[in-house]
Symmetry: C2
Subunit: 396 residues, 2 copies
């Protein structure tokens, strides 16, 4: 028994997914049958798929290159990228070959996620680190859920959308499926904002001698820890998307606690504190943004000094508080002895689940929550789980 | 589609498993078809299984009661407890009814675990928090692994053997299956020893004014945190069993690192530091043991004072260090700022995975690692996963 895998989006994460899935241990269980970027798709016959990752990746021309007119590798063929057509072809081939096919979406395109209901209802499973399908409007989320419940439908696995390879989505699912009551979820869910505040606001405090906010953002940008435009991190929208996903999973299960707010427009409906000074809201260039951010260092200094007066640190967190009926992303103060202060460093994520069963002290998961290899790991672990639900046995 | 569940061992954990599996959400997907204690088995027709947990539990007479001569509830029948016969009957019924049957072992009996190979090769799946089958001699472990690889064999899921409901086994499996290299695993894996040392040795130190070791053990015993005889906790054997399981799972996967030591006799082959003073090795009574432990407080005071001189705390940990080719359970010193010192409290477990991918900082899981409800949650989450691998769809 083996499983077919089609990968859309072959950037940093997609490449690692190909490498992990074509390892000696997994390669014999999975056939990578197509790779797509924004311009091209290469289809690969299962017999030609049993090669190493680098060879597989070499089969897909760069999106800037023209579509090849003839195949250079036995068992391959080329076509212009068209995700909707690809899904129809994969579904037809799957039915004909009686194999299960998993569509792995490693793009960050909303348009690809809008095809998930089609893919799932056609019998394909979807595994993805792409948050957009689950954190945008309610209509798409509902369509994805409903598509799964039709007979013969595929499955959706989305571990890597929150915390990359960390067991966060699987943990919240296990909690709610076994009937635990999730009371509060609180987490540092952005690796970028974790790094920035771990450097800016340390337990014990550094007072006025501490580093300037704009200097830390500048270093983070130079090291590639931020998006090209740091405002995309400072807006909080990445955290808001992750919190929307967690909140929707929790809300979709029965509970005696008050209902959480609905998010008709997804993350955009969520209460999200922005760290972008209003005067800089329209600065188009990332470099200019960082330079001008220095004019606002005094504002951040004051926030830090206020926290230090209470022996606290600043952390940008996502919070789901069922008793308060509240879901929010905000800059909060935590005591120096709190795990978010004392045990967090670098760009680690940390999340604490307070539940009926984990009531005295929360269940905590912590570790790197971004990076191509750990994100790919989250994707590949999900691919294995979907395959196992379709009869594949993976050693141990 | 529904799944049949047979439960052996209906103590604190088994009762919670029955309650969680017969909740409104899960009850329609799972039929509890038998309950056994050490004396009796009640078999329950699927049609009679759809009742609440309390009613189901009332169907099994206490082990001290005689075997009922007639059935008091429609669709039930009684027989003397005989796990080997039960497995044969479950397998035959499963084949006849074309359902998948999951054997849940909530005993702590080695003899039941010795039947896992029979159960698995007969097509039943096994879910259990019972560590003995996986931490005893190599022969049984190998038989269990081999039984799984036969055609038509069942599966074994053992999340709750380490850390109860915490995602520890599933995390180590995801790491190794996706090809990560586990370099070091380090954890506080006994809730009892976590509590004792969190109270005895605090970050910052308390010097000679700190509580006495024997006093803390006494309080722990009075609160039910220890086994009836605290030496069963202080021997380190519970930690050694958990570490054997983790080590075997890691060893069963390919790696370029040096092989870990083999454990031909399971946990008994593992390097385990005992905290039982040698003079007290043969004290048969738990109460007498605690009283006499006070004669040894000075020894523990000295260990604590030595740690405090280095601004460290004492923690009883399990360590798998692949570079050093070492697996051990020992009392170790950790800096006051280490997560095992600063963020650990109560009887929480904590485990840190250092891997090729999580190399700068480890992946950490923390929370309650003992207790009937969280242990049952680990079991029920596994039951759901086995059912999902056999075609059952559980909401979300």
């Amino acid at each position: 028994m083996s499983c077919a895998v089609a990968i859309i989006g072959v950037g940093l994460v997609g490449k690692q997914v190909v490498n992990q899935l074509s390892s000696p241990a997994l390669g014999r269980l999975f056939n990578i049958i197509s790779l797509s970027n924004s311009k091209h798709t290469v289809s690969i016959a299962p017999s030609a798929s049993a090669v190493d990752g680098a060879t597989l990746l070499s089969l897909l021309p760069a999106s800037s290159a023209p579509l090849p007119t003839s195949s250079t590798h036995p068992g391959t063929s080329y076509s212009p990228a068209n995700p909707a057509e690809l899904i129809k072809k994969l579904a037809a081939d799957s039915r004909e070959n009686k194999t299960h096919t998993i569509l792995v979406d490693c793009t960050s395109d909303l348009s690809v996620t809008e095809l998930y209901p089609l893919a799932i209802s056609s019998g394909l499973s979807v595994v993805t680190p792409n948050k957009k399908g689950f954190s945008s409007g309610d209509a798409l989320w509902t369509q994805i859920l409903e598509a799964q419940s039709a007979p013969g439908a595929g499955l959706v696995y989305l571990e890597a959308t929150v915390g990359a390879g960390l067991p966060i989505i699987s943990t919240v699912r296990d909690l709610v499926k076994t009937g635990d009551e999730v009371i509060k979820v609180e987490g540092v869910l952005s690796g970028t904002l974790s790094y920035i505040f771990n450097e800016f606001s340390k337990p014990g405090g550094s007072g006025a001698a501490g580093p300037k906010f704009s200097e830390i953002v500048k270093i983070a940008k130079e090291n590639g820890y931020t998006e090209p435009h740091p405002a995309d991190d400072l807006s909080g929208s990445d955290v808001a998307r992750k919190l929307t996903i967690l909140s929707r999973i929790i809300s979709a299960n029965p509970s005696s606690l008050p209902a959480l707010p609905a998010f008709p427009e997804g993350y955009a409906s969520l209460s999200t504190e922005t760290l972008i000074p209003s005067a800089l809201a329209n600065v188009a260039s990332g470099d200019e943004f960082v330079t001008k951010l220095a004019d606002h260092d005094a504002e951040f200094d004051k926030l830090r000094a206020d926290a230090e007066k209470e022996d606290k640190v600043l952390r940008y967190v996502g919070v789901i508080d069922r008793k308060a009926g509240l879901v929010k992303c905000a800059l909060e103060k935590y005591p120096s002895t709190h795990p978010f202060a004392s045990s967090l460093s670098g760009s680690d994520n940390i999340i604490a689940f307070h539940t009926a069963r984990y009531s005295q002290r929360p269940l905590i998961v912590q570790g790197a929550g971004a990076g191509a290899d750990v994100t790919a790991m989250g994707v590949v672990a999900d691919v294995i789980k979907v395959a196992e639900r379709n009869g594949v046995r993976v050693h141990l």
